[in-house]
């Protein structure tokens, strides 16, 4: 219930946040909405010596249209994603995923950047960002680099983000007017996904399918996508959903059940496109 003590630094700018990260090294954590970090700290699963609060960097909270892309600031809350008209028009899948996160209180505080950086294998937004061919823009001491979402998640709660980097933008391919679906299966309504699926139709006729709860990271269902691209009917393609996945086998669900759920949910998502 009580986090361990830490030094608190409120960043006044992105530059200051980066300087703090560089200075404190592994002992520092960034605090945005705090809805991934603080719960872990309260259970003392994480005990950082320094917290750099970037929550007031309003310049990191935005949704903009940039040509064919929707660009989202990392401090944008789930609440904003649910309600933002640009998101609704151009990347409605993102809103659909945001709507299924936790509960209203959590969505009021939690941010897209925090959620992605936390890299939980069952994070709803991760599925949407993957299916929207997202690019995560990281800024570090040596400048800015783009990380494709498909390369961002590297393991259970680990990402390609370096310790001295800050996620400064999420760029998503606009999918204006195209079919999408977000299917989430959880025990209770407010729980994390046991398995979840984000599906997004693409202008070139391809369909992107992303899975959560099906491995150590959120991932793209490559075999399903290829099958669909090859003209295999959706009902058959969905049977390939768990191919190549190594889902957890634990008290929440067995691996076999997760694999089955993946097929069912991909089937539902494709049917809803």
């Amino acid at each position: 219930m009580i986090p361990a003590g830490f030094t608190y630094v409120r960043a006044g700018s992105v530059e200051q946040a980066l300087a703090e990260l560089a200075w404190h090294g592994r002992d520092v954590r960034l605090l945005a909405g705090g809805h991934s970090l603080l719960p872990a700290m309260k259970l003392r699963r994480v005990e950082p010596g320094v917290l750099v609060d970037i929550g007031r960097l309003r310049e990191l909270a935005y949704v903009r249209l940039d040509g064919e892309q929707v660009v989202v600031g990392p401090l944008t809350t789930h609440r904003t994603l649910e309600r933002d008209p640009l998101v609704a028009e151009h990347v409605p899948l993102l809103a659909a995923a945001a709507r299924r996160i936790g509960d209203p209180q959590v969505r009021n505080r939690g941010t897209i950047g925090g959620s992605l950086a936390h890299a939980d294998p069952a994070a709803d937004l991760a599925a949407a960002v993957l299916a929207l061919d997202g690019v995560l823009v990281a800024r570090g001491p040596s400048g800015v680099r783009d990380i494709p979402a498909a390369e961002f998640f590297t393991g259970v709660r680990t990402s390609a983000l370096a310790a001295d980097e800050l996620l400064v933008e999420i760029r998503l391919r606009a999918a204006t007017g195209l079919g999408y679906a977000f299917e989430k299966f959880s025990r209770r309504a407010l729980d994390w996904a046991v398995v979840g699926v984000a599906a997004q139709a693409r202008p070139e006729g391809r369909t992107a399918v992303a899975l959560i709860g099906m491995g150590q990271t959120p991932l793209r269902a490559g075999e399903v996508e290829e099958a669909l691209a090859a003209g295999v009917p959706a009902a058959e393609a969905s049977a390939l959903a768990a191919r190549g996945c190594a889902p957890a086998d634990n008290a929440v669900a067995s691996a076999a059940y997760r694999s089955h759920l993946a097929e069912v949910l991909v089937g539902r998502a494709l049917a809803a496109l």
Partner: protein, 155 residues
Amino acid sequence: MRVEITVNGRPHEREVEPRLLLVHFLRDLLSLTGTHVGCDTTSCGACTVLLDGVAVKSCTVLAAQADGCEVTTVEGLGGPDGLSPVQEGFRQCHGLQCGYCTPGMVMAATALLAERPDPSEQEIRDGLKGNMCRCTGYQMIVESVQWAAANGGAR
């Protein structure tokens, strides 16, 4: 560190540990014990307050993060002329038994009605899904919120 938080309209300046949770700031430093703690995993919602007008779980906000912000707790609802419509709805419809989850439930319901003055049953259940109650089985809470919606809303 020093924080200044306006709670129920009154500014409070205090020296706090950076790790102090907002809920403990309210309960232990300001003696506003209406805001309760029911879990340690951001699950139950008993600690729900309004932070700059939106519902948050105050067990998962640092007092430091609320520095300079406005907080409304259950003590800040209603007034000399009586209970707020949401509070009155809970009384009329038996939306509480032990009363422990109630302040958080009332705050979440107040926030819900502020955004959706006339919610459907499904919207009420969806809007309050972050608040757990062990006594009522929830139906009479739903009825309480419906009563409030029909009798003044989120005032």
